[in-house]
Symmetry: C2
Subunit: 341 residues, 2 copies
DNA sequence: TATCATCATCAAAACGTTTTGATGAGCTTT
DNA sequence: AAAGCTCATCAAAACGTTTTGATGATGATA
């Protein structure tokens, strides 16, 4: 095997010479876009095979204006921060989109940075933007370029943008809150993340509306997704002590739930007996913690499937739904919110 | 916001016209590869910004011969088959490579199919091939093209190919076998997968050598990675009944371990009391099964980190190690191989 | 003042395709 | 035998960059 790495790729010109025809004949013979005699076609095919011809994708894309590749931009910053725990969400998101793209035999590019001039720009026919921020600049930029965009979750500032695959939070969050209420909770605390995206905004809105409807005082606070294991207990401790401690906590970031459980234990509070605890995203951490923690599963796989489907439909010029597509997150009820009888 | 999707992108020519200079001056002003007067440079920058100029990546790559993108090819077929269980391995593999690439601000392309003519070929400066097969054709093709390749695990037929990040199985597999032996196992059965890659071959070789050294009769069988939940119990049942049943089973595919545990239970065999059970890859399934199953963690994250590092070093022309890089898998001892005292 | 270097800018070539209008050979029709 | 068709093939343009040799202006030197 020749491993010389400086090898110049075979061009269409060399194939043409070998087959004794013109460049355009080679192109037509291989693409079949114009009739070529059977004999010539065979000769060209043979020459191409012998030389190991592989058309230069850049030249082709430059000419045709399409690369056959789809970009993927993942907005949440924590995704790149990458603590081992946060990785599960990232991996499910990325992995399931990659799986779907492979199933459809279409190349997927992880776009590193849209704006950094040091980063090569990326040849994509369309782009999936996952979990955009409010007034997302990357999203706006792509739309401004006229590139076909499909979002996973919506830009909260532009909720009605078409070609979005969205999660329908209200019924699920209400079901969770009702469940907590059923279990006796009357003083619920919501700890949202600080990324300004739909996942943080929507459940918060639902929570506030629910409290108003129930006549309960809403209590909210922020807990940045970027916090470490060390920060969380410290920040949470004061919330758990004193006479006005909540009797239920809903925390957005699932990884923090077990830390809150520990902090509660340190105060002598038992879960679920003295404090109910639930998270707004699921993770192994939540599933295997003691006790296992009730969580909302965002069904990344389903989001990925629909988003990829939508993107490929758009690129192929097929009919696509006019408005956003809604999926329902799954509520996973576990021991952390189930009072023993 | 203008959402017209048929918008033609801004070219360097339009920037040049707007700034009142030639095309090449724009190129030089933006790239800084030749001195341009401060005034002109400012004018060009302004024009580019106003028009929202973004250089066409295909044209640039065609001219320069580099795209700034790295390809990723995942060989194992099960990866695309994608049962929910198999997904964890796939996601960790893909997710951690994507994470590393993002950290280095370099685009990553999932290559769907190297040979399918219906699939657009992919503009990559180098390619990471994960878990190649014995005599891997895709690997050979890439090497034949002279493309820089880094493999995660080696092609078992060409174990000494440089620029491979390999797992050092023997010490870990021996440690596992010794552990089983310590726990009293004398009749060990190895159930390998059917994908012909290093992960199936190497541990098998170590097992055979270990048996010979210990004077124990080796027993092996195959269990395809593509089997479903329904197939496995049926196939395993006969192995567990009869007087010559093994007292320890090492199964490659981690998802099958809990199924084997069930099949054993159906025969009245208890784990670990009557049968020791271990897997050659880790998964949540194995971690949370009852009892938790001893497994070898392939440390995909570490493999990814080294592979990406190696690839980027090669592409930047830096010094790279001459031979393969070895990492050691982690043995996770759990209850399934620990006899109660 | 003529000559020479320096500096900023320009024009043109090249990268490897696909596409399209033109060309010529071989038939059929008049 | 001339005219018209069809079919296969060809030549050339175009896609949007980067790169390089050429050009002209400006100021320094002889």
């Amino acid at each position: 095997m020749d491993t010389a790495s400086g090898k110049r790729p075979v061009t269409i010109r060399e194939v043409a010479e070998r087959a004794g025809v013109s460049i355009s004949t080679v192109s037509h013979a291989l693409s079949g876009r114009r009739p070529i005699s059977a004999a010539t076609k065979a000769r060209v095919r043979e020459a191409a095979a012998e030389l190991g011809y592989d058309p230069n994708p850049n030249a082709r894309s430059l000419r045709t204006g399409r690369s056959g590749l789809v970009g993927l931009i993942l907005r949440p910053r924590y995704a790149v921060a990458g603590t081992p725990d946060r990785a599960e969400t990232f991996n499910r998101l990325v992995g399931s989109i990659a799986t779907e793209m492979l199933r459809h035999k279409t190349g997927l590019i992880h776009v590193p940075d849209l704006h950094d001039p040091a980063v090569a720009s990326v040849p994509m026919d369309g782009c999936i933007v996952a979990h955009p921020y409010g007034g997302d600049t990357a999203l706006a930029e792509l739309l401004g370029r006229g590139l076909p965009v499909v979002t996973v979750e919506e830009d909260p500032e532009q909720p009605d943008l078409p070609w979005a695959v969205r999660l329908d939070y209200p019924p699920v969050v209400e079901a969770l809150l009702d469940h907590l209420h059923d279990q006796g909770a009357r003083d619920l605390l919501l700890l949202s993340g600080t990324e300004d995206n739909a996942w943080n905004r929507r459940p918060r809105e639902t929570y506030l509306a629910w409290c108003k409807r129930r006549g309960l005082p809403p209590r909210t606070a922020l807990l940045s997704e970027g916090l470490t294991q060390h920060d969380v207990p410290e920040l949470v401790q004061p919330l758990l002590s004193g006479p006005d401690r909540p009797d239920a906590i809903v925390v957005a970031t699932s990884d923090f739930a077990p830390l809150i459980a520990e902090a509660a234990a340190a105060q002598g509070l038992r879960i679920p007996d003295d404090l109910l605890l639930a998270a707004l995203t699921d993770s192994e951490h939540a599933r295997t913690s003691t006790p296992p923690i009730t969580a909302m599963d965002l069904t990344h796989e389903a989001l990925a499937e629909r988003a990829v489907e939508l993107m490929l439909a758009r690129l192929s010029g097929a009919e696509t739904p006019a408005g956003p597509v809604f999926l329902t997150p799954e509520l996973r009820l576990r021991e952390s919110t189930r009072r023993r009888d």
